[in-house]
């Protein structure tokens, strides 16, 4: 398999995994928690290294999952004790991230894990970090991790499809009727943490936020069906990865950066030309956007 193939596949897997999972965050108006978790998982990764003395996949996923849930728990705790929710997110994620940064400096010499890498990722190195068992190479580790996380997320979303939908649309009614709303919340936080840590190597903590939020926000402008929105968000994630890779090769710039920029391009296109909210469409229709609704009722 060629170098280009692995990079493209990694990028597309990041786009698909983050796109689908992130769409749920957008719908729950929790986009900022993605920002928080994408940073705090660093602490999970460093923690996993302290425990296992290696940077292998499974401990990293577990560490990230734990810290991701802790982030959500701490935010919830601060919020319920009277701190504004955005301030709560700000406090929790900077403290946990800072702790991760401090701990990294203790192990800086032992492994290739630095803050620069953690923030920006380096997808260009992904193909060389392969999963090797008994001397046989099975392709990049990142691809395996992303594939596994994608599978887990898809299974969870399929199993709890109704519950996710209900607890997002009307959490109070869902609680009353017996949907385990809090469990669904933490399940989603786990999914976000896993997606983030699997994407970490490739796009880093900051750009993964773009992959989590922008495709979902774009799809939101294009459809008003829940299922279609999730699919569309994943597709936009894939297209962004592919388009971004094209940009990067053409102009010889950062691959991950271009992918994130591509999500922005899709968003702007949807914002301007989307059938529902598109600025241009509204202009063409005049100011009748609301009127069409009224006259049809």
């Amino acid at each position: 398999m060629s170098y280009t193939f692995w990079i493209l596949l990694t990028g597309c897997l990041v786009g698909l995994t983050c796109g689908i999972t992130g769409a749920l965050l957008v719908l729950r108006k929790m986009a900022m928690i993605a920002d928080a978790i994408s940073h705090t998982v660093l602490l999970g990764i460093v923690g996993a290294f302290f425990v296992t003395q290696s940077l292998s996949g499974i401990p990293m996923l577990i560490g990230a999952g734990i810290v991701g849930i802790l982030t959500a728990v701490f935010v919830e705790m601060l919020h319920s004790s009277g701190v504004q929710s955005d301030a709560a997110i700000g406090i929790v994620f900077t403290s946990l991230f800072a702790l991760g940064v401090v701990l990294i400096s203790f192990i800086g010499d032992q492994v290739h894990l630095d803050v620069q890498h953690a923030l920006m990722g380096e997808i260009a190195f992904v193909p060389w970090n392969t999963l090797t068992i008994n001397g046989v190479s099975y392709g990049p580790t990142a691809v395996w991790m992303l594939g596994a996380v994608l599978a887990v997320n898809l299974i969870l979303i399929t199993l709890f499809y109704k519950e996710i939908k209900m607890s997002t649309f009307d959490p109070q009614f869902a609680t009353l009727i017996g949907v385990p709303v809090m469990i669904i919340h933490y399940l989603l936080m786990t999914m976000v943490s896993l997606s983030t840590v699997a994407s970490f190597d490739s796009v880093g903590a900051i750009l993964v936020v773009a992959m989590l939020i922008v495709p979902g926000a774009t799809a939101y402008l294009l459809t008003d069906r829940f299922f279609v929105l999730l699919i569309l968000s994943g597709v936009i994630g894939i297209l962004s990865a592919a388009l971004g890779y094209g940009f990067a090769i053409q102009w010889n710039v950062s691959i991950a950066g271009s992918m994130a920029v591509a999500t922005g391009v899709f968003f702007i296109a949807a914002f301007l030309f989307g059938p529902k909210q598109g600025v241009v469409i509204k202009k063409i229709r005049g100011t009748t956007g609301k009127k069409t609704v009224q006259s049809s009722t």
């Binding site: 009307d170 109070q172 009727i177 829940f226």
Partner: protein, 250 residues
């Protein structure tokens, strides 16, 4: 038999008591209007009964059992403004949410459930809007979708939070019609209500509330000027002929 018994319930927001020592029992098959001035804690009361808000103290029994074990028989119509109507879903899907306990975890709604949900939409006159996106519905239509969802629950006791707020006249009629049907089927209904003029027509029981219950009982006994003045303080002047006039109208 009492459908609902609330004992010594207190609720606080930021250390201020929003509800103090609320106790009352609602007989099965009754229609209770929960009346009181703004900030009296009417919505808070419903949410606390349903354990959607933390309570400081108090117990709730539904048909003599703790609420937790009675989820299947409790129906709820929240305030329309409490959910995001831009959420990507259609009317039928919202109604199907009311069948959650009957559909079960990990399963898709069966044909039978879908038929039942459609039937509920029909009973509120919304059969033509089943696949309509909820953001495309008018306020009154959205309220009817909520009613259909409550109906789909097929509950024995219903809690409605200001169902008449901001709806058109035909929707108000549809709500009244549905409440009457529920009453005929022996269901118990509690409604947070604002319009004092219609209390006599809509409800056979009234709970007058202002942080603590002023009075509870049959409408003709409880819905008196003296009680209203106590609940509303001095703000009742404009209603001088309110309760009496209401009796004469319609």
């Amino acid at each position: 038999m009492n459908a609902l018994t609330v004992s010594n319930m207190s609720v606080s927001y930021d250390k201020q008591l929003a509800l103090e020592n609320v106790s009352f029992s609602v007989p099965e098959g009754s229609m209770t209007g929960i009346i009181g001035p703004n900030g009296a804690g009417k919505s808070t009361l419903i949410k606390s009964i349903l354990q959607l808000l933390p309570t400081v103290s108090g117990t709730v029994e539904v048909f003599k059992k703790p609420l937790r074990s009675q989820r299947k028989i409790i129906g709820y119509v929240p305030q329309r403004s409490e959910v995001d109507w831009d959420f990507p879903t259609n009317a039928l899907d919202v109604v199907l949410m009311g069948r959650y306990n009957h559909i079960g975890m990990f399963k898709r709604a069966s044909k039978k459930e879908v038929t039942w949900a459609k039937h509920c939409l029909q009973r509120v006159g919304m059969q033509d809007y089943a696949s309509r996106q909820i953001s495309q519905l008018s306020g009154g239509q959205q309220q009817r979708v909520f009613l259909a969802r409550a109906m789909a629950q097929d509950a024995k006791i219903y809690f409605m939070d200001e169902p008449f707020a901001g709806v058109d006249a035909s929707t108000e009629k549809a709500i009244i019609q549905l409440m009457k049907e529920w009453k005929n089927e022996g269901k118990t209904v509690l409604v947070v209500h604002h319009d004092l003029q219609t209390v006599n027509d809509y409800f056979d029981h009234v709970l007058l509330l202002n942080k603590t219950p002023i009075a509870y009982g049959e409408t003709n006994r409880v819905f008196t000027l003296a009680n209203l003045e106590e609940a509303y303080g001095g703000k009742i002047a404009f209603l001088q002929q309110g309760p009496k006039a209401a009796k004469g109208s319609t």
